[in-house]
Amino acid sequence: MSDAFATLSKAGTVLRRELASLLRTPSGWAIAAAVLFVDGLLFNAFAVGTGAKTSTKVLEDFYYFAAGTTMIASILLAMRTLAEERARGTMPLLLSAPASETAIVLGKYGASLIFLAGLVVATLYMPALIFVHGKVSLGHIAAGSLGLCLLGGTTLALGTLASALARSQLVAGVLGSAFVVILLLAWLLAKVSAPPLDSLLRHFALFETHFRPLQRGVLRLSDVVFFLSVAGLALGTAARVLAWQRAR
C-alpha cells in the first residue's frame, strides 16, 4: 500500500467518524440552523427587500451576505476540529494510531468541508427563487456557489490551522478569526501602502480580489488557484504543527 493511498484511506476513516459526530451532536445542527436562518433573513431584508433592483444585483447581494455567514460557520466548524480532541483527551487515540499527521488533518478538514458544502447546497433555494422569478444565468449561480465553497473551504483550512495551534476551542476560534480578518483587510492595507507592497497585499485580499469576481459570476482560474493554495498551505502547516507537537 503506497504512502499516499494509506494517508487517504486513514483520512477517510477519520472523516467518516468526524462527519457522523457533526451530524449526531447538537453543535453541527445549531451551526446549520443559524446559518440558514441568518441567510434567509438577510436575503429577505436586504437582497430582496430594498427597493427595485435587477435580479443579477439581488443574486450578487445574496452571495455577499452568504459569504459572511459562510466564513463565520467555517470558523465555528474549524475551531473544534483538533482543539476539541485535545480538550476531551482523545488526541492520544489519534497520535498512537498508525496514521500520519496529514491523514488526521485531512480527515478532520474533509468532514467539516463536506458539512459546509451541504450548507451551501441548502441555501441554493434562494438563488433558485431568483432564477425562477428573475433573469440570472445558471453559470452565475454556479460560480457564486463555487465561490462560497472556495471561500468557506479556505477559511475552514485557516481555522483548522488555528485549531492545531490552540489548546482550547475558544482560542482556536479567536486565532482563526484573526487569520481570516488579516486576509480580509489586506485590500484596505493595500490602499495605504506604496508599491510594490500594495500589489502584494492586494493579491492576498481574500474577499475583494478573489471572491468579488465569483460573486459577480466570473470564474477565473487565478482565483481558484489562490483559494486552493492558501487552503493547502494552511492544512500542510497544520499537519507540521501536529508533528512538531509530537516531537517537542
Partner: protein, 320 residues
Amino acid sequence: MIRARALSKFYGEHAAVHDLGFEIAGGECVGFLGLNGAGKSTTLRMLAGVLEPSAGRLEIDTPDGRVAMDADADASSIALRRHIGYLPERPPLYDEMTPRAFLRYAAALRDVPAGEREQASEDALRRCGLLAVAEAPIGTLSHGFRQRVGIAQAIVHRPALLILDEPTQGLDPVQTAGMRELLRELRGRHTILLSTHILGEIEATCDRILLLHEGRLHAEGDEQTLVTRFADGGRLRFELRGDAESIGRCLQAVTGVREVRTMPADATAASVVVEVAADDDVRAAAVAALVGAGVDVLGLRRAQSGLEGVFLGLGGGGAA
C-alpha cells in the same frame, strides 16, 4: 520481546527521561513504578508513539518480524504503532459514540482489515465485559465501564505490546477487583507494561518491576528483589502499654536494633506506639525483652508494606 535502548526525552536542558534501557520478554507483565515526575508517563507516551523520543531506539518482535523505530535516524514510528495498544491516564473516548461503533472505528484506525473489524470489535467487547452496554452511548457509562472501553480500544487490534497508564485510577473497590480480573485475563495474550500508583496493583498483577527515578531506570527486578534492596523491611511498629522511657531503654538493649522512635500520641492514649529500625529480624527477642521488663505487648506489625517502603525510600532519596 520489547527492547528500549538509550531512550531519552529532553525539554530544553531538562531531561524528563534519560538513557533508559530495558527489555521485556513476550507475554511478560511489567510494572512501572516511580514517584510523580519520575518520567513514567513520558516513557509510556514515547513507547506508544504519542511523543517522539529525543534519542534512542525501540524494537518490538512481532509475528511478522522485528519492527524498530530509531529516533536518531529521525524515522517515523507509524510501523511500530501498529503493534502497540495504549490506554492513557484519561481514556480517549467519544461520548456520543456507542462502545461497539467506537471499537470499529478504533479497529479501522489501527489497520485491522475491513473484513475483520466487526469480529475484532466483538472480541474486544466480550473480553472486556462490555456486551451488555455495547449499544449505550459512552457518555452514559459508569467510570468502570468507560475504563473498560478504554482498554478494549487498546486491544482491538491484538497488539504485541499493551501499555496501560493508571488503568484502575478512580475506580471503586468492586470495579478495581473487576479490572484486576481483566488484567489477569489479558496477561496471557499480550506483553503488558503497566504504570500505576496503586502498589497493590503491581503486587497483584506484575511479574517484574521497572523502578524509575528522576528520569532514569533506578532498578529492575521482581517485588522481593526490590523490597530487599530498597525498602527498610526491618522497620517494626509496636503497640505497648507501659512507661515510654523504660520501653525505649529495653528495646535499645536488644541486639540488632538500630533506632527506637516513640511515635507522638495524645495525653489520653492508653498505649505507646514505638517504631524500631533493625538490621535483623528482632521480633522474638524484642517481645521477650519487653515482656521480661513487665511491658504489655498489645500489637506488632511491619511499619511499611514492601513496595511502599521502596516508594518511601525514593522519596527520601535514601535508596541508591
